[in-house]
Symmetry: C2
Subunit: 152 residues, 2 copies
């Protein structure tokens, strides 16, 4: 392989993975001031969103929706509990599981959180249709990669 082909292969701008990596950071930076008002970090916000959609879930269930391990979630959930947003209790039906439920404060936070998503779409500068297409393509790709990961 000659040098120009080599250069072509290892150019950062051509890395789809880098575009995703850096876009993720960009999202974080835009989200941060908004989430600071809610007293949440971005991953904490995602956990709260899953609980607003469906309360009283196990750690496992939250993890499977967010693609996160218990080693990530356990300390995060403890912080949410310390902040009075959720409670964690062993499931009497199955003592291996921990049920995570919203407190009143956790439920109440939802109203303030409603205001966040529209701000974000603005910041992307995308029209709705492009955003939807991008979202669909990314989910398809993610699911494909998760499947490949399982096979190995």
């Amino acid at each position: 392989m000659d040098n120009s082909s080599k250069d072509d292969l290892l150019q950062l701008e051509k890395f789809l993975c880098f575009s995703i990596y850096s876009a993720g950071h960009a999202f974080n930076r835009v989200y941060k001031p908004l989430l600071d008002n809610l007293g949440l970090t971005y991953p904490q916000y995602l956990v709260m969103v899953t609980l607003w959609q469906q309360d009283n879930q196990s750690v496992r269930s939250i993890g499977s929706k967010l693609y996160l391990e218990s080693s990530t979630l356990t300390p995060l959930l403890k912080r949410l509990e310390a902040n009075g947003l959720v409670s964690r209790k062993r499931d009497p039906e199955d003592e291996r599981s921990v049920r995570v439920t919203l407190t009143e404060a956790g439920k109440a936070l939802r109203d303030k959180a409603e205001e966040v998503p529209p701000c974000i779409l603005d910041a992307t500068g995308l029209d709705i249709e492009t955003a939807k297409r991008l979202n669909r393509d990314l989910r398809t790709m993610r699911d494909q990669m998760e499947a490949v990961g399982q096979k190995i």
Copy 2:
């Protein structure tokens, strides 16, 4: 706003940010076994790619290309140095800067690294055209969000 609209607004699957967040994790999982062979983490790999593209850069320069702060890069670069892949030296022209240069081992690693990108494209399950479009859209969006961040 009625409840169905509320539910609509806070559904995880509709969050573009979440698709990017989870796609980033999926990439990481696919990359990990490949990068383990090179003895690199994913961010370390990105730093090496920028140095393979252009050797002898300042920390600042690397950071601006990868959108990373010195607080992230300094310890990372020290690890790369400890592993014998780069050297770090104050710039005699401007003692505030640190120049990062590839060692022979760092240069040599490039050959093995060449094999990584094609594996990854396979794993995404995307055809080249879709991958290119996705890449372009993401970069546009990222740049827009970075610009919005600057304004605030």
